[in-house]
C-alpha cells in the first residue's frame, strides 16, 4: 500500500515550482516578529490543552478534594460542634448542652446571677454556629489548599509548557524559527497563564462551592491571593522547566519540601516560600471578617498586604526575566 502511495508522489512532486515562484506574484507583507510571537502564544495555548500525565493528576486531586469537602459539608463537619477538648470526652456541643441544662437547674434554684452564665453559653453557642468559615479557612484553605494543592496544580501546567516540548523533542521547531529565544520563553509563559489561572481559580471555586456558605465566603475573600500565588508559582515552575530536564520531579520536590517544610518554620525562614505571602494576604482579608491569624503575630511574623503583593508580583517578574535569560543562553542538545 505504501509503495502505491509513494508512486503517487512521482506525479505530485513539482521540483520546477518553488515557494518563491508561488508567492512572487502575490502582494505579500513582509514577515513580522510580533506576528510570529502572537501566533506562538496562540499555538502554545492550544497545545497546552492536551491533557498530559501531570494535568490528569491535578484533575484527580481536584475531584478527590471536591468529594472530600462535599462529604464534610454533608456531614456538617465544618463547624466546631463536634470538636472535643479531650479524647473520649464530650464534644463542644454536648458540653454547652450540659452546661445549659445545669444553668437551667441552677437558675430555678437561685435565679440571681444566672444571666452571666447564660450570656457566656449563648456566646459559645454563637461562636460554634459561626465557626464554619474559620474551620474551613484554617484547615482547608490555609493548610491543604495553599500548602499542597496550589503548588501541585500550578506545576502540573507550568512544567508542561516548555517541559512538554522538551520531552517530546519538538522544541527544535521553535528554536529553528526566526524568533528571539527570550520571546519564545515569554510566549510560552503568557500562553500558560490562562490555563493555570483558570484551573487554580476554578478549582478553588469548586472546592469552595462544595463547602457551602463558608466556602462562598472564603472564595470571595481569598481569590486575589490565589491569583497572586498562581502567578508566582507559574513563573517559578516555568523557570524550572527551562533549567531542568525533568522539571516535574524537581517541582514536586520543591512543593513538598520547601513550600511545606519551610512554610511551616518559625521565624523568618518561611519567608522564602510563596505560600507565606499567600497566607499573609489571606489572613489580612479574613481579619476584617473576624477571623484572626491561626498563630500569634509575634510567632508568625506576617507581612502587610502591600509587601505581600510586592513580593508575589516582584518574584513573578524577576523569575520571568531570569527564565528568559536562561532560555536564551541554554542549549537543549538532548531535546532537539
Amino acid at each position: 500500500m505504501e509503495s502505491g502511495q509513494e508512486q503517487l508522489v512521482t506525479i505530485g512532486l513539482q521540483p520546477e515550482t518553488s515557494v518563491l515562484d508561488a508567492v512572487a506574484s502575490s502582494s505579500e507583507s513582509s514577515p513580522s516578529t510580533v506576528r510570529a510571537w502572537c501566533y506562538l502564544v496562540w499555538l502554545s495555548m492550544q497545545r497546552q490543552a492536551r491533557a498530559r500525565q501531570m494535568v490528569l493528576i491535578a484533575l484527580s486531586l481536584l475531584i478527590f478534594t471536591f468529594t472530600l469537602v462535599a462529604l464534610n459539608t454533608a456531614g456538617g463537619r465544618w463547624t466546631m460542634h463536634r470538636w472535643r477538648a479531650m479524647r473520649g470526652g464530650p464534644n463542644f456541643q454536648q458540653a454547652v448542652d450540659h452546661m445549659q441544662a445545669g444553668a437551667a437547674v441552677a437558675s430555678a434554684a437561685a435565679p440571681l446571677g444566672t444571666g452571666v452564665t447564660e450570656a457566656v453559653l449563648t456566646a459559645a453557642q454563637r461562636a460554634m454556629d459561626d465557626s464554619a468559615f474559620a474551620v474551613f479557612s484554617r484547615w482547608m484553605v490555609y493548610s491543604i489548599f495553599v500548602g499542597f494543592l496550589l503548588p501541585i496544580w500550578s506545576l502540573s501546567f507550568a512544567t508542561e509548557a516548555l517541559g512538554g516540548e522538551r520531552e517530546a523533542r519538538s522544541l527544535v521547531w521553535l528554536l529553528s524559527r526566526p524568533l528571539p529565544r527570550p520571546a519564545i520563553y515569554a510566549a510560552k509563559f503568557v500562553a500558560l497563564l490562562p490555563w493555570v489561572l483558570g484551573f487554580n481559580l476554578g478549582g478553588f471555586g469548586l472546592v469552595c462551592l462544595a463547602a457551602g456558605e463558608p466556602g462562598r465566603q472564603a472564595f470571595a475573600l481569598f481569590w486575589p491571593a490565589v491569583a497572586g500565588a498562581t502567578l508566582a508559582f507559574a513563573a517559578l515552575f516555568h523557570l524550572m522547566s527551562a533549567v531542568f530536564r525533568r522539571p516535574a520531579i524537581i517541582a514536586i520536590v520543591y512543593a513538598f519540601f520547601l513550600e511545606t517544610v519551610l512554610g511551616s518554620m518559625p521565624g523568618y525562614m518561611k519567608r522564602i516560600s510563596v505560600g507565606f505571602y499567600t497566607r499573609c494576604l489571606m489572613f489580612d482579608a479574613a481579619q476584617d471578617h473576624g477571623l484572626p491569624p491561626p498563630e500569634r503575630p509575634s510567632v508568625y511574623l506576617p507581612v502587610d498586604p502591600l509587601t505581600a503583593w510586592t513580593v508575589l508580583l516582584g518574584v513573578t517578574a524577576v523569575l520571568l526575566m531570569v527564565g528568559m535569560v536562561v532560555f536564551a543562553r541554554s542549549e537543549y542538545c538532548e531535546d532537539v
Partner: protein, 352 residues
Amino acid sequence: MPELLEPADPRGGSGALSVAPPVERALQTEPRPAARVPATAPLEPPLVFERVSKWYGPVIGVNQVTLELRPGVMTGLVGSNGAGKSTLMRLATGQLKPSLGRVRIRGLDAWSAEAKRHVGYCPDVDSFYEEMSGRQFVEAMARLCGYDRGAAVRRAGAALEQVGMAGRAERRLRGYSKGMRQRIKLAQALLHDPELLILDEPLSGIDPIGRQEFVALFRHLVERGKCLLISSHELEELEKLTDHVAIMARGRIAAVGSVAQIRELLDDHPHSILIVSDQPRELAGMLLRLSDVIGVELAEDNRLVVQAKNPKRFFAEFTRLVLEENFQVEHLETLDDSTHAVLGYLLGGGGR
C-alpha cells in the same frame, strides 16, 4: 577548484586531506569583525565556520572545523554515527553554540534569530506536533516565521506541492509513514525560501523513487542559487547528489572536495599500515618489492609498519602476496585516524 574549502587540521596534522587552499588562511588575512558586518551584507557567504570546536563536557563533538559554503553549491557531509555531522549542522542552525570559534550565516551569528531567516533546517529528529495534519503543521511553521495567515497558507501550499505532499497533507502526522514525515520536514524547511538549506539525513526512510525526486528537487534548488548542506552516513548516497563531499571523522573534517579528488589525493598521500605476521622479516622483504611501498619499519612483537601510497592498489597486491606466499597475517590496521576514515568510506567500509 571546488567551492568547498577546508583544512581538516589547522595544524596541518597527519592524514588531513585538502583539495584547495585553506579558508582559514584567507580568513586570517581578511579579518571581518562582527560589529562591522552589515545585517544583510550581500557578499557574505551563506555559511562560514571559523575554527569551530564544540565540547559536550569532556567529549569533543566538533574539533577545529573551518569551512565555508557558497551559493549555488550542494555539499555532502558524510561520516559515521558520532562523527560530528549532526553537531556541525546544529551549530549551523543555531541550536548549539560553539565552545570555540564562530559560526556565521551571511555575516550574522548563527545563534541569532535574524540568521534563522536565511536558513531552512530539516532536522534528523522525528518528532512533530502529532495532533496536527501535515498542512496544519507546515502552516504553523510559516506563521512562526512571521507570515500572516494568507501568506502562510500560500507558502505552505507551495512547499507541500514542491515536496509532493499536496494531495496527502490533510491526514494527521501521527499516521504518516517515515517517508511522508521526511517530506513534511523538507516542506517546512523550504517554505520561507531560505538561501541556505541544512538537511540532516533527508533521504533517510525515503524509497528509491522518492530519492530520485528528492535528488531532482535538490538539484533544482542549487540551480536557483541555493546553498545546500546535506548529511548522510552513506557516501554512495551522497555521490548521486553532489560531487562536493566533506568527510567527517571524530569531530574533524578528514577530507573535502570531489570524491575523485579525494581518491586521487589519498592515492598520493603516504599512510601507515600496521601488520602483525608470524614471518615479519620475510614479509617486509616481499613488501619492499611492491611499487606502492615507500618504506617498511620492523618493530617488536612481529610487527611491521608499512608506508604505502595508493591504498586500493596496495591492499589488492598485499592480499595477492599473502595468499601466494602463504603468510599468516594476524592483524592489519591503518594507523592514521583521518586516513582510516576516508579509506573506510572510499573503500565502502565504515570508519570513525
